[in-house]
Amino acid sequence: MTTTLPPRPAPGAARDEADAARPATTASPATRVLGAAALVATALLVLYGLVISPADREMADSVRLMYIHVPAATYLYVGCFFTTVASAMWLRRRTPGWDALAEAGAEIALVFSIITLGTGSLWGRPTWGTYWTWDARLTSTAVLTAMLVGYLALRRLELDPAARSTRAAVLGLLLVPNVIVVNRSVEWWRSLHQGSTLVKLDPSIEGTMLVALMVGFVAFGLIFAWLMVHRFRVAWLDQKADGLDLEAALAARRAESRAPTAPETEVTP
């Protein structure tokens, strides 16, 4: 009543097979171009932000943080948007690509939210003397950060993958509505106190400062895209590695049989 084990493969064969099946990296010509462009844009941003653009009349050099803070905050929302849309699509189509996209969006959004909080906090110090002002945007961002941490915690649970993805998708679907509600209520709340507003996108901003800000948007956009592509690909590979090889699983299951010869059952494809 013994089941025979499959013959051991030749030592080199397994490695070669695995190498062929697994790409060495998530990079591709597209991402290399993207990465290069991001580097160039960042260099330009540093140039414009630190050197070329002038210090602000009121806020002196700390205004330079705005060139990072504002784009970071913007792409934070873009990331959340990706997560919500991808979650909705996953619930409809159930293809793993959407699940991977939702995960990537949330993680990158978290990175950007930390940057936003960090730059906002640093700005507050010289301007108002404290590291934290209960500014509307900063407070909303803090709450959003907590939501993203919660979402990622849910994703990391030990659970059957389909169930985990379903729960994460429902949570992700609610992310953008939550953000909208939180932002509105916090803004409304803070508007009752004529307090300090950290970043007023001053409509009169012009000249090299405007250019610097635009460069900031471009640079962060490229960085965001680069990060998203890589993170998505990693998540995608994760899904595939975890994925169900039904034939192998069936073979393993049938091999558990105790009968002398496991009966062959017609498997209709």
């Binding site: 039904l246 299951r253 049938r254 558990e256 049989s257 009968a259 009966p263 059952t265 209709t268």
Partner: protein
Amino acid sequence: MEPIVHFRAAVALLGRFPALAGIDLDVMRGEIVLLRGPNGAGKTTVLRACAGLVPVVRGEATVLGHDLRRNAAGVRRRVALLGHASALYDELTVADNVTFWGRACRARPDDIAAALQLVGLDGRLRDVRVGRLSAGQRRRAALACLLARRPELWLLDEPHADLDHEARDLLDRLIRQAVDQGATVIMSSHDLDRALALAHRIVTLDAGMTADQRAAGTGPGTPAEALRGDGEATTETTAEVSHVA
């Protein structure tokens, strides 16, 4: 005559584990079918699949005319599952529990009352909290919930466990009664003597597949005896299965 349950090479997944790796099963109306096999063979999963609770991803699977691969949820109202885990709330009384589950599946109040009576829980025990009952009494309460549904297909997962001798007799009686009234029963049980006496047919499962289907005798000294030696059942191809008419 159309079989009530028809499985052909059915594969069902619990998460990513193929609990059923190719089940063949045909059950006619009014039959009592016993599922047997070692632990982990897939008996519970077959029962849950018939209830439309487990997704079938390959092969054919039809229960009471519902294609389980397309619309598993449609079959749920017409079956009842008596599983290992009870769905009874410890803080509520027997009457509360049976009434809740009865009303949830739109059972008539008469049926609910009759169910309690049939299992013998309509007396003093009616208003005792389920948490205070013995395992056997809880089983009987769960059975009452099943009876109240008046299902066409009974799916019983080791129903004789936890029951004393009298209660097992009661259960057997109820099963026979239900079958006389047109229901069909699929059950798994480790109480082989009883189950073999009840069953019309025996299906042996192994590693998620159907290993054997044969008719059961109705007394000792029949093929039933031969089956008691576990693991020594001869493998018959499905072509040689004889169905009890």
